[in-house]
Assembly symmetry: C2
Homo-oligomer: 249 residues x 2
């Protein structure tokens, strides 16, 4: 089972959008996929069509052997969800001393080829749990100045976790998101990030595409909401690249 964490402490860079749509294309290609929503905002949960959920990953962290009881289905075959609930907001304080709570939850889980974890925009205990549980990280990088500035700090944190909590942690890659090729800023960010991180950067680049931000209000991943859109095509390519890299871990 591959456990892929979608992390970046910078807010609004496309973590949830990447988690949902990457997972959907992996599932559509026949993999058994579980999305875990570890963000108290519960955007991945609502983007996959679940509102007002009362049981989810918070409960599973308390009773790991019952995790499968809290998993729900989605509109996409082969795609399941372990939802976020409001009490997850309190978990940050409770998890401060147990960085392996999420890893222990996965130790007892079976039946999935890939687990995709959506993390909140912070480097607090919830994200530390993701870094300690994942064997691969996918880092969405918005083609903007502040997002680029924050990436070095994130990589330092990943190095520290690899040196301590999780020696098996690898960065699967960096994916450029919300890319608008008509702006110099986006072109500069791409040039800068490829020069700096080389092969770590996926060739697939996700363009800014309104269909990606409309899809959540229809509770469908983009492969179902607007399969011919540029956003859908980008996530389909990304899923293929991810599977190539995941095989090599």
């Amino acid at each position: 089972m591959r456990i892929v964490g979608i992390v970046n402490q910078k807010g609004g860079v496309g973590k949830t959008t990447t988690a949902i749509n990457l997972a959907a294309y992996l599932a559509a290609s026949g993999k058994q996929v579980l999305v875990v929503d570890l963000d108290p905002q519960a955007n991945a949960t609502s983007g996959l069509g679940h509102r007002g959920v009362t049981r989810g990953v918070y409960d599973a962290l308390g009773e790991p052997t019952r995790t499968q009881d809290f998993v729900v289905g989605t509109s996409q075959d082969n795609l399941s969800l372990l939802p976020a609930t409001p009490d997850l907001a309190g978990a940050a304080v409770e998890l401060a001393d147990t960085p392996y709570a999420l890893r222990d939850l996965f130790a007892g889980l079976a039946g999935y080829d890939v687990v995709i974890i959506d993390a909140p925009p912070s480097l607090g205990p919830l994200t530390v749990n993701v870094l300690a549980a994942a064997n691969a990280l996918l880092i969405p990088l918005q083609a903007e100045y502040y997002a680029l500035e924050g990436i070095a700090g994130l990589m330092d944190t990943v190095d520290r976790v690899r040196a301590g909590l999780n020696p098996a942690l690898r960065v699967l890659g960096i994916v450029i998101t919300m890319f608008d090729g008509r702006t110099n800023l986006a072109l500069q960010v791409e040039e800068n990030v490829r020069a700096h991180f080389g092969e770590l950067v996926f060739w697939s680049v996700v363009p800014r595409n309104i269909r990606l931000s409309e899809a959540p209000s229809h509770a469908r991943p983009v492969n179902q909401y607007s399969p011919l859109s540029s956003g859908a095509a980008a996530y389909k390519r990304l899923a293929e690249e991810v599977m190539q890299r995941v095989q090599k871990i």
Copy 2:
């Protein structure tokens, strides 16, 4: 002294962009303004031209009487900054039990007409300190589905803080950001939010405008980087509306 917190737990909605550019136009109109960067990402700090800063708001929280020693200038007259530093990331744990640390810092501060606080994308101890210290809140709302979904939860948190930690807390207003009038989504979000929150919503709407995302890489607020842009015009109008509302508190 008016203390305005720029808050929203949703990431990437324009908190930092609003903090910097609103502050710049208030300062340009003759008000003495202090921006306080309470986000460990330190985007407001770098957006105002300060990198590699080693002393700032974290130090001031520890030695409130020396706050003015840590304040730095900016390229804009009448605009000062209390910067974020990397050790602020550790403050979240330290501040969990002291929700009034920031309020106590401001109690000893003088010489400013308006303080603008940039908060991180979470409802953790740093943001709680902002809610406990501010007398007015300005909520940037990105014209997107997930951002709209999260606003009800934020308002509940504000009500709880008003009922407990800070009875004087008022919502100054909600400002719609990154508005692209060519998309149905943005029009629907605006219609929805004005129907729901009425006069709380500022008439000034900040359009999506590339000059706003270019300005930070030039370490200048938008009134200096691109004063004729649509983004600059929107923040100038917003500053005028804010001053009208602030007089009434």
